[in-house]
Chain length 249, copies 4
């Protein structure tokens, strides 16, 4: 069995700790280096890391990527803040190191990535489609970024099939009851003590509905996606945006 | 076994037909008279009806009730439009006929009535509570009357327990994403091809949620509640508003 | 807009009536011939039918197919009982009429077909997978054919990914509580008054689940799939088994 | 506001730690003493504890209860193993200390307690009722104790209403597909990676279903029930078995 030599950057953050635990428990991976604020990136090279996982912050992630790409280390990246300028910069570094792979993904929860993908596939077969997301009440924005992405994916599927407007005879409605329209798809956000992160997509046509639901029960739900990224990245040189591109769906 | 002699008023309407079928199939009931527009109410007396079921319309229901109450016939009523004046009038007729029972209910779907009742009971134990209703897209109003009643019942339960505001840290939200506030309870309305009438209530507190869900799959869902009303009404003389008062919960 | 000239065989059966209604309401279809027991198939030719829909029974379906294929009419078939011998016979007729398409599908409910397809795609990403189907209590077999197909599709997806056995530490269990094993996938069957046909597939991995659910609310749920078959069949000459092959997923 | 002076026995176990955290965060409680293996129970008296919470084990719980009851301290107990003999012994101690309350509960998750209670109330209105529980795959028994209790409560509700057998026309079934029968109620157990503890009860009658679902997302879900017990116990002298008796439902 291949063993992947993995380094984790941002290893002492809450997410980083979960990544380190996941890598350590994976039978086919060795956690060879853990980097946090003051640790030199050179440790990654010294310990022979083949792939790094980066859940840090926008202030340091570009330095991390430049170093790793230039040293031939693949990069699985969950850090946010990738503007078009930054994407262009990463591509430039990769051109000079053509064997290296970089995966940047806004969401590593496989169940969420599949929910979005299946929703886009299903959209064209149903006259009606709505999204309901539910999160813990400490969340600052509504609806969630994942729900907005999902609604846009559904809208794109509907446009390709020239489905037109959803049927809706509503004449009198209390403000807000019909949700927020994201690209003409109603999106509802529930804030609920005790929950973590959940998304439900409902599709309807004559006499039937299809429901696709994703539940994240705790903050480790991104780990399987990160490990999948580590295992597959050597097959995907260059820049890949979005875990769905690794799933061979 | 007691056999209930039942008359149905509005017998040829869509709802009335379903009531007639339900009464006919019930082993403990005889359908002794069916009345529609031009049929004389006197048939009810001639055929010995003990209970009538009235799903007609506001224009004729008061005449029906006056006749039945004065002839000692119990009345199970699903017709709408009962203003306070009308309620007072019915009470006056009943005072003159003290053995007669009248049940007026806005909703005879037992699953919906229980959802409202359980929601009111559960409300005080949970910091968070939201209502999501889903209906076919031909519905004219949003949210449904049942969802509004449910939200008000939850709010009343919360007030009695002095729960205060729901936790919600939302800072930026798309308009409508957080639903309509009914007595401070968020209510979300989904309109979905292929569905009939559905209501979900979610409650949350530390580490857990409780979900109560009601699904009506077709337009016969009010029949079990009507039959229950017919069976119990002789034990409830005078005016009763709401099927929940017959359920001994 | 193309208009499809459609004939319906078995037109007065319960399913056939729903197909006729669906074809009549479709803006892009003309219902040109309806055939039941004693009607001559020649009517299909006389009325210029381009596609027929056959929901009949195993005793007559082969005669219907032979006639239609030999007259250049495409066939959308929901009738059951296609043994390997029958499949071979249909293929032979089609070889002699190479422009004709025949679609034979065990399930035309698009939501059910997508549930099976998405379940097979998702299976390899999750350690755990179980199927719960729910039907009205008059159903004679348990679990449903759809649930068995779904379990086999999941098992196939797991085998390809070499997932091995599902995690399950159960030491003491009441007989039946863990469901029936279909190709090592637990399948649970619920029989519930008031319901129609419903299937839920749950997948789990670290910290998350993915749930795919299909609800059929009434016996019209196969109609959208039949209409899709009518629209697409001219693009699929020869024999196709399973509606999923028309969905371009 | 009353402030409750609370002691926690078994304070360094996983459950005990969550109780300590919950008590510390409650605005109306003071955590005055924490007891683990080697700590003397006398500390409870010295620190003025009015109520103790005991999540220990069957070997030590009886000693704890004897001490606390005899010192006039109320006891909220989640420890298991209370045989009839032990119950009798606790009652005897309480007779000598009539102002003291003891609450012994097999389940402190309020959502689970309400699910059982509502299920028993609802049972008599529906011809069909089934229970589906879902737990993490490390669970040793199937179905869960909560699911068995729920099924028995439903069966009791059905008996009182003389409902008879559930409708079920199944003629051919794969072994196990129809679940385990607990007092004639089908119970299905799902084991799913990523989940914690979940229970769904479905009831059906003509044209409708009622679903009551409980989700525990993490191991803190018993804390709100324990805090409720602490707050209410001074109103319930003597022995109480089951949190539902404190809920004033």
């Amino acid at each position: 069995m291949t063993t992947f030599k993995v380094g984790v950057i941002g290893a002492r953050g809450r997410v980083g700790q979960a990544v380190c635990a996941g890598v350590s428990e994976a039978a086919d991976m060795d956690l060879v280096a853990t980097i946090d604020r003051t640790d030199p990136l050179q440790n990654l090279v010294d310990q022979g890391a083949e792939v790094i996982v980066d859940f840090t912050n926008p202030n340091v992630v570009m330095d991390n990527l430049e170093f790793c790409i230039n040293h031939g280390i693949h990069c699985v990246v969950g850090t946010t803040g990738f503007t078009e300028d930054r994407i262009a910069q990463v591509k430039q570094w990769l051109e000079a190191n053509p064997g290296v792979g970089v995966l940047i993904a806004p969401n590593f929860a496989i169940s969420a990535v599949l929910t979005m993908h299946f929703s886009q596939l299903a959209a064209r077969f149903f006259e009606s489609a709505e999204v309901i997301e539910m999160h813990h009440p400490n969340k600052l924005d509504a609806p969630s970024g994942t729900a907005i992405h999902t609604a846009k994916a559904i809208a794109e599927g509907r446009r390709q099939a020239q489905l037109g407007a959803q049927p809706d005879a509503t004449e009198t409605a209390l403000d807000g009851s019909r949700g927020a329209l994201v690209d003409d798809i109603p999106v509802h956000a529930v804030r609920m003590q005790g929950t973590v992160a959940h998304e439900t997509v409902i599709f309807g046509t004559l006499g039937q509905t299809l429901t696709i639901r994703q539940d994240s029960y705790d903050r480790t739900s991104f780990v399987p996606g990160v490990l999948l990224g580590v295992r597959e990245i050597s097959q995907h040189s260059g820049l890949t945006i979005g875990l769905e591109n690794y799933l061979e769906l």
